[in-house]
């Protein structure tokens, strides 16, 4: 057997197999059971305990490149909050963030929810870490007009909001920096806010120490976190449907890693 050839499989074969393994279960789901972890349960319990009429802040710190991993989390939590009657305010420290805020709002506006009452999009604040600090300490002072150019003081949902402690929870949906780390460093530490995180999968090991230390109360990890949240909240949606494809994609990669290693050791033995 030509072990060398197996160690150098044409990348196009790998890509085609991977695309097939993920595309087929998206069209015909296999219904592989999905388990839910303690972190997602804790996240759900914290969000579910927020009484109707309260407000939460979503910090949408991601761009289109990370959106497939993080945006489904925001969708799932948004649905939960709307069902509970909790107001959602959006802010972003990434330029693309406000666009995702508008996407989240659109579906609910079509259902009759009212902008300014049930949700508001405060837009983008430039300045990275220092902007997060200023916003955390003085929301109204930092943002005078929302993304739709309304004066923030005229929005009913913003009445009574002075700093981020006035939100029942702050959730940072983050695909990098500025994001969770900056919120922990500049706002959670000094003000002691109720901070939760929705992280892009790549960053999860980086943020785990904050969860262990209690600085971040709970975290959703990537698309899988969104799927688990949909399951726990009893609203299985698009993220759950993608989990079969994700599982098969992982199997393909595991198979290639095993094949590559067998070929490597067999070739070494042969030599």
């Amino acid at each position: 057997m030509d072990w060398k050839k197996l160690q150098n499989i044409d990348r196009r074969i790998i890509y085609i197999l991977l695309i097939l393994a993920t595309a087929v279960p998206m069209i015909r789901p296999l219904a592989i059971p999905l388990s839910t972890g303690p972190s997602v349960h804790k996240f759900y319990q914290i969000m579910d305990a927020i009484p109707a009429g309260e407000k939460v802040l979503f910090s949408l710190d991601y761009a289109p490149s990370g959106a497939p991993d993080v945006h489904p989390q925001a969708l799932a939590v948004m649905k939960h909050m709307m069902n509970k009657g909790v107001g959602v305010v959006f802010i972003s420290f990434w330029e693309a963030g406000p666009m995702f805020g508008e996407q989240l709002i659109r579906a609910y506006e079509e259902q009759g929810y009212e902008y300014g009452v049930h949700f508001a999009n405060l837009g983008y604040v430039p300045g990275g870490e220092s902007a997060i600090k200023r916003f955390g300490e003085d929301v109204a002072g930092q943002v005078s007009r929302d993304f739709r150019n309304n004066p923030v003081s005229s929005l009913p949902i913003m009445q009574g909001i002075k700093d981020t402690r006035d939100f029942a929870a702050v959730i940072c949906f983050s695909a990098g920096n500025p994001g969770v780390q900056e919120w922990v460093r500049q706002v959670q530490g000094p003000l002691g806010i109720n901070l939760l995180a929705g992280a892009v999968t790549v960053s999860v090991p980086q943020y785990m120490p904050y969860v262990d230390a209690g600085q971040v109360k709970a975290m959703l990890a990537g698309l899988r976190g969104a799927a688990e949240y949909e399951t726990v909240s009893g609203n299985p949606g698009p993220s759950v449907a993608k989990m079969d494809a994700q599982s098969l994609g992982h199997l393909i990669i595991i198979a290639f890693i095993i094949v590559g290693n067998i070929a490597f050791f067999m070739d070494k033995k042969k030599q």
Binding site: I27, G123, Y124, V202, G222, Q246
Partner: protein, 200 residues
């Protein structure tokens, strides 16, 4: 199959396919779409930032009479002085201010949240397997990076355990990277199979 009639969905789907075409070979369609993406992203960023300047500086300055905002505005303009050789030195003032404020903020935050709080979180009672792994894991990794004594005997074994724990951590990170990349692929496939072709 229920193919979309929305022009933007078609553009998104065809753009995604064009980017995927790089898998086989670099080609002019891929290049064109790549440039289009970079241009659109830059244009979007400029418009959002321009709105931000208008909302946070121009409107309060001209309509609300907040004269104090002239200071950051002048500092901001001075940043561009670096493009004119004779007055390039002026750009050092706002730059120094930015570096000073940035460092001050970061040092405070890092010491408080990423050092003191993390040390506190590691001081755990050794009454569960998780806590034992956490405490001895941290100690052995610190031992691995302790270069003031030769790694011999017990120190060598401790450092070796630290190395193994780091290897496992790197494996976990790599696993997360793979999972994240598959999620991105699923997002792209959803755009093609779901939004565009209506097969999902």
């Amino acid at each position: 199959m229920n193919i979309s009639t929305d022009i933007w969905t078609w553009i998104a789907a065809l753009g995604t396919i064009a980017m995927f075409s790089f898998i086989f070979k670099e080609n002019p369609v891929y290049r064109w779409c790549e440039h289009l993406y970079v241009g659109a992203a830059a244009g979007y960023a400029i418009s959002v930032n321009a709105k931000s300047i208008a909302d946070k500086a121009w409107t309060p300055l001209t309509q609300d009479g907040k004269i104090v905002l002239l200071i950051p505005c002048i500092f901001g303009i001075l940043l561009y002085a670096r493009f004119i050789k004779s007055i390039a030195w002026l750009s050092r003032w706002p730059m120094s201010f930015l570096v000073g404020v940035g460092s001050g903020l970061a040092i405070f935050g890092v010491v408080n949240s990423q050092l003191l709080q993390q040390i506190k979180a590691t001081l755990l009672p050794l009454n569960s397997i998780n806590n034992i792994i956490m405490v001895f894991g941290v100690l052995s990794i610190l031992l691995y990076f302790f270069f003031s004594m030769e790694h011999r005997g017990a120190v060598k074994y401790g450092a070796s355990v630290g190395r193994w724990i780091m290897m496992i951590t790197f494996g976990v990170s790599f696993g997360n990277v793979v999972m994240g990349r598959i999620s991105l692929l699923l997002g792209a496939l959803e755009r093609i199979l779901g939004d565009w072709l209506g097969m999902v």
